[in-house]
Symmetry: C2
Subunit: 191 residues, 2 copies
Amino acid sequence: MNTVFRQHLEKIIELTEEEYDYISSHFISKKLKKHNFVVQEGLPVNYEYFVISGLLKASFLNEQGKEHILQFAMENWWVTDYQAFIMQTPATLNIDCIEDVELLMLSFTNKRKLCTESHKMEHFFRMKTTMGYVSLQQRILSLLNSDAQSRYRQFFSLYPQLFQRIPKALIASYLGVSRETLSRMSHADGG
Amino acid sequence: MNTVFRQHLEKIIELTEEEYDYISSHFISKKLKKHNFVVQEGLPVNYEYFVISGLLKASFLNEQGKEHILQFAMENWWVTDYQAFIMQTPATLNIDCIEDVELLMLSFTNKRKLCTESHKMEHFFRMKTTMGYVSLQQRILSLLNSDAQSRYRQFFSLYPQLFQRIPKALIASYLGVSRETLSRMSHADGG
DNA sequence: CGCGCGATTGAGTAATTTCAAATCTAGTGG
DNA sequence: CCACTAGATTTGAAATTACTCAATCGCGCG
C-alpha cells in the first residue's frame, strides 16, 4: 500500500507480507488540500489519521475565540481528537491542513478490530501511545518551566524543520505566547 | 493479592482466577513512609508503581532549584519516570511520598514479559496509557489557555479530594503559578 | 506557652499582553 | 519587470498579570 507506512510499522513490529497486507487493508487513503478540516469541533470523530505527507495542526478554540495549538502533525505522525475518538463523543478540537496532505485513515471500528485480532498491532499502538505520553510530559515540563525564551529555544532545537514550514503566529500559539512576544524573542540573544 | 488492584484491572479486562494470580505474581508489594523517594534524579528507574493507598508526587527540579510538579499519584494511579523507565536511562524526575503509601511495583522486565505473554495485559496498558495521554492533552490545553485563575478552578473541580490533602504550595507548583498568586486567587470571585 | 510550618498580605518589579501602526514578502495581473 | 494586495512579521508604548522578596498571620504540636 505505502512503503512509508510499512517502514513506520516495522520500526516497532516485524510483519510478514501477508500480515502487512491484511493490516493495511483496514486503512483508507485520502488526499486533502490546504485549509481543509479532518476534525471539526462538535462533530463525531470516526478516524485516527496517519500522515504520509504534508502538515496539519490540532487546535482548541477557547471562549474568547483564541486558538491554542495542541499538536502539529507532520510526516509519520498520528493525529486525531483522541478524547473524542476514544470516548466516541463530539470533537472539542479542530484539526486542519496547514499544507496539502496525504493521509491514511483508520476508523474506530477497524482500530479495535486490528488490536483485538493482532497482538502485534496492539503492541504497536501501546508503544506509540507511550512515546506520545512521554512527549506530552516533556511539553508540560517545558510549559511549567515558564520563561517563554527557553520554550522558544527548545522548540527551535527540537523541530528545526517545522520552524521553517509553519507561520510564526502558529508556533506562538503552540508555545503559549503572543505572536508579538515570539517575534521579539527571535532577536534576543540565542534566537 | 490485593482486591483493589484486581478491581482496577477488571475495569478494563476480564480475568480468571488463574490469570489474575499469574499476573499479580509479577508485582512486588511495598510500604513506604512519607518523604521517602521511589525515584531519584540520576538513578536508574527499574519499576513502575501502582498506588494502593497514599499519595506521591513526581517532580522536576530546574537549574534554579525550582520544583515543578508533573503529576500527583493517588489511589489507583500508576506512576514512574516513564521516559527513564522506557528508555532505561537515568531518572530526570524525583518521585516521593507526600503521605505514607502502599505500592505495587512492576519491574521493566516483568512488564515486558507480561505484555508479551498476555494480549490482555498489553491491551490493559494500552488503554491506560491512552487515557493518560488524553489527560495530559487536557492539562496542556489548560496551561495554554493561560489565566491562572481558570487553571485553579479547573484543578479544584477536577480533584476536590486532592485539594484537601495537598499543601497549597505543591498545587501552585503543579499549576505553574507561585504560591502567593495561588493564595490570592483563592479569594478572588469563584474561588 | 512558644516554636515552626504553611498560608496570607503588601509593595515594588519584571515579564508578557494588548492594541495600533509600520514593514516586509510572496504571489498576481498588467 | 513593476505595481499592487493580502497576509505575515515586526515594532512601539501602555496596561496587565504574575513574580519576588519581605513581613505577618494562624494553627497544631510538643
